[in-house]
């Protein structure tokens, strides 16, 4: 299990390589990559972060994922700082012997990162700055896992 909270960009290919080095014996690997969506007029996305808490919380959720599903390895990278449209924000890699485990764990971790990991997004336009608000739909997705 490997969790990286950092400002610098990540190379997906490199991340997959490291992931594979640490765990070669899985039949199923699920990867999710979240990027800054190039909304009309968006100049950049500033992501505020509480790194010490993020590290703790994400480790915690990765452990919960490991208890819910049979996973061979998890790798999570989440960036903060000022990001341009199309830049990478987040990467989640989950490996398992079975596709449904790797897929469900991946979705679970992403749902958690969206609404429960201490990151805050601000959209910077040329004429305004908007703090992104938490979405009801994201919260609902998160709650669904509790009855799982």
């Amino acid at each position: 299990m490997d969790i990286n909270i950092k400002k610098d960009d990540f190379e997906i290919t490199e991340e997959i390589e490291i992931f594979n080095q640490n765990s070669s014996d899985h039949g199923a690997v699920s990867i999710f990559i979240g990027k800054v969506r190039p909304e009309n007029g968006l100049k950049s996305m500033e992501i505020d972060c509480y790194p010490e808490m993020a590290q703790k919380e994400i480790k915690n959720i990765a452990e919960i994922a490991c208890s819910k599903w049979t996973l061979n390895n998890i790798r999570i990278v989440h960036r903060y700082g000022s990001l341009k449209p199309n830049e990478n924000i987040v990467l989640v890699i989950t490996g398992s012997s079975h596709r449904s485990d790797s897929m469900s764990a991946n979705e679970f971790i992403m749902d958690f990162l969206k609404s429960s990991a201490p990151f805050w997004k601000k959209e910077i336009y040329s004429d305004k700055e908007i703090w992104v608000e938490q979405k009801e739909s994201d919260l609902r997705k998160l709650y669904q896992w509790e009855s799982f």
């Binding site: 808490m53 703790k56 919380e57 201490p118 990151f119 805050w120 601000k122 703090w131 992104v132």
Partner: protein, 83 residues
């Protein structure tokens, strides 16, 4: 007590963190928010919509009734929007 602020709360208070001497009768997060709001307009404004604020003590999410002490790191932030 070490205090941390994030996102628009940090913007309104115009600080990302500070160390403050807190009166000894302040025992919970809720009391701390009331106290801070009473000493400065910026805190008052930041903590106005209290429903929209979350808190962590020593990097763990807690509710308003959580007990706090001098050695704690207390953080204030809006609902998270990561991922």
């Amino acid at each position: 007590m070490k205090l941390k602020y994030f996102a628009w709360i940090a913007e309104i208070i115009d600080k990302r963190e500070e160390s403050l001497e807190i009166p000894s009768e302040i025992n919970t997060i809720g009391q701390l928010i009331d106290y801070l709001s009473s000493i400065d307009e910026a805190y008052k404004k930041a903590f106005e919509k209290r429903k929209n604020i979350k808190f962590a003590v020593n990097q763990v999410l807690v509710n308003e009734n959580e007990l706090i002490s001098k050695a704690d790191e207390v953080a204030f932030f809006p609902p998270m929007t990561g991922g």
